[in-house]
């Protein structure tokens, strides 16, 4: 039996409705550590008008954010801070790795610079560029919105998929050398491959 709907009633799935709400109200957490942060600020400013995509509300408290934008190189001393901020953000949350340094370490292939934040926190989108133009960052936000709409569920069970839990490339490629007992890498125990990883 057909049911007549009034004109102002729309039927949808709850998952899609939740994803639609989430994707259009992303609240970015600007983790800006280098020159990518300048482009991030430009993206949020009036000229590029991130409000068109519902992601203009930058908050400096992780408790109020659901989109981490890592803009700039992250050194190993900064990594625990980044992880703590990531843990303090509310679920569901996503992460954009903005620029060459955040994604791969960039030209800073040195002892203290983390070679890609995805080795230590989950990343959903990578933005190439050094630094990327605001248009590129906006495109990544649009792509992230498509991703949220495509796979999002109201309970967030897409985050529990095995594909989201897999080990990242660094941990497959690079052995982590630890001394028995101390938990610290040393020279005497062996040196990592030096050169291009």
């Amino acid at each position: 039996m057909a049911v007549d709907l009034p004109e102002n009633v729309v039927v949808s799935k709850l998952d899609e409705l939740a994803s639609w709400c989430r994707k259009n109200s992303l609240w970015p957490m600007p983790f800006a550590t280098a020159c990518c942060g300048i482009e991030l600020m430009a993206t949020g400013a009036s000229r590029h008008d991130l409000a068109r995509f519902g992601a203009e509300v930058f908050r400096f408290s992780p408790r109020q954010c659901d989109l981490m934008i890592v803009a700039g190189r992250v050194v190993m001393k900064m990594m625990p801070v980044l992880q703590r901020i990531w843990q303090q953000m509310l679920e569901p949350k996503w992460c954009i790795s903005m620029g060459a340094c955040a994604s791969t370490g960039g030209v800073f292939d040195t002892y203290c610079v983390v070679q890609g934040v995805d080795r230590f926190i989950p990343v959903d989108m990578y933005v190439p560029g050094c630094p990327p133009r605001p248009e590129q960052l906006i495109q990544s936000i649009i792509d992230l919105q498509d991703k949220i709409q495509a796979e999002g569920t109201i309970t967030g069970k897409e985050f529990d998929l095995p594909s989201r839990q897999g080990k990242k490339r660094a941990l497959i490629e690079l052995p982590v050398i630890t001394l028995p007992g101390s938990g610290r890498p040393t020279a005497s125990e062996g040196v990592l491959r030096v050169g291009r990883h």
Binding site: Y111, I121, P122, K168, L171, V176, I177, T186, L192
Partner: protein, 195 residues
């Protein structure tokens, strides 16, 4: 329509006025006076001095470095410690010593400048701290300790200043690999489950 060139809009901040400003500056670096060096040589044994492009350098021995710095500060008027830094001469051509510790001194009254060097070799990588003379030496010596592992005896608070406290190496030494020994990879990993 009147076309306005860019050049007519730019205020005269260009090279010409800047060069004139530098030339008119009163505080030029002064040539070091011979009596200043004579005072140092009279007070401290074994000081070698040399000049390079108008700048005077002095090399003192490890045992005499503190007394030399004290004479330079209290009697020769070098009241400003500009910097303390270090050079690792490992695999450097014609180098005899491993480390060259460098003190850059300046006098704010006479505008003289002097570079004081001390050469150090393993295993005796310690010199007296200059903090009793210049308070500003505190963080400079901490940085040299952090990067090169030169120990400053008598320093009030000799901790690492830039690297994490649990770091074990001295990364600006030439025998430390540029990509490190795995410190940058040896961090806890957060997955979606654990975050």
């Amino acid at each position: 329509m009147v076309k306005v060139g860019l050049a007519s809009l730019v205020p005269p901040y260009g090279t010409v006025s800047r060069v004139a400003a530098i030339q008119n500056r009163k505080s030029k670096i002064a040539v070091i006076q011979p009596e200043t060096l004579n005072k140092l040589k009279a007070a401290v044994a074994g000081v070698q001095t040399s000049e390079f492009r108008g700048e005077m350098r002095a090399v003192v021995s490890k045992a005499e470095v503190f007394s030399a710095l004290r004479v330079l500060k209290e009697e020769c008027g070098f009241d400003l410690l500009v910097d303390i830094t270090c050079v690792d001469y490992l695999n450097y051509r014609d180098a005899v010593d491993r480390f060259g510790l460098v003190y850059l001194l300046a006098s704010t009254t006479t505008n003289e400048r002097l570079t004081v060097r001390v050469f150090l070799n393993e295993p005796e990588l310690s010199v007296p701290s200059a903090v009793p003379l210049w308070q500003g030496a505190d963080w400079m010596e901490r940085e040299v300790w952090d990067m090169f592992g030169i120990h400053f005896d008598g320093h009030p608070d000799l901790r690492r200043i830039l690297l994490p406290e649990e770091f074990t190496a001295f990364p600006l030494r030439k025998d430390y690999p540029l990509q490190g020994r795995g410190e940058r990879h040896n961090l806890p990993v957060l997955t979606r489950n654990r975050s």
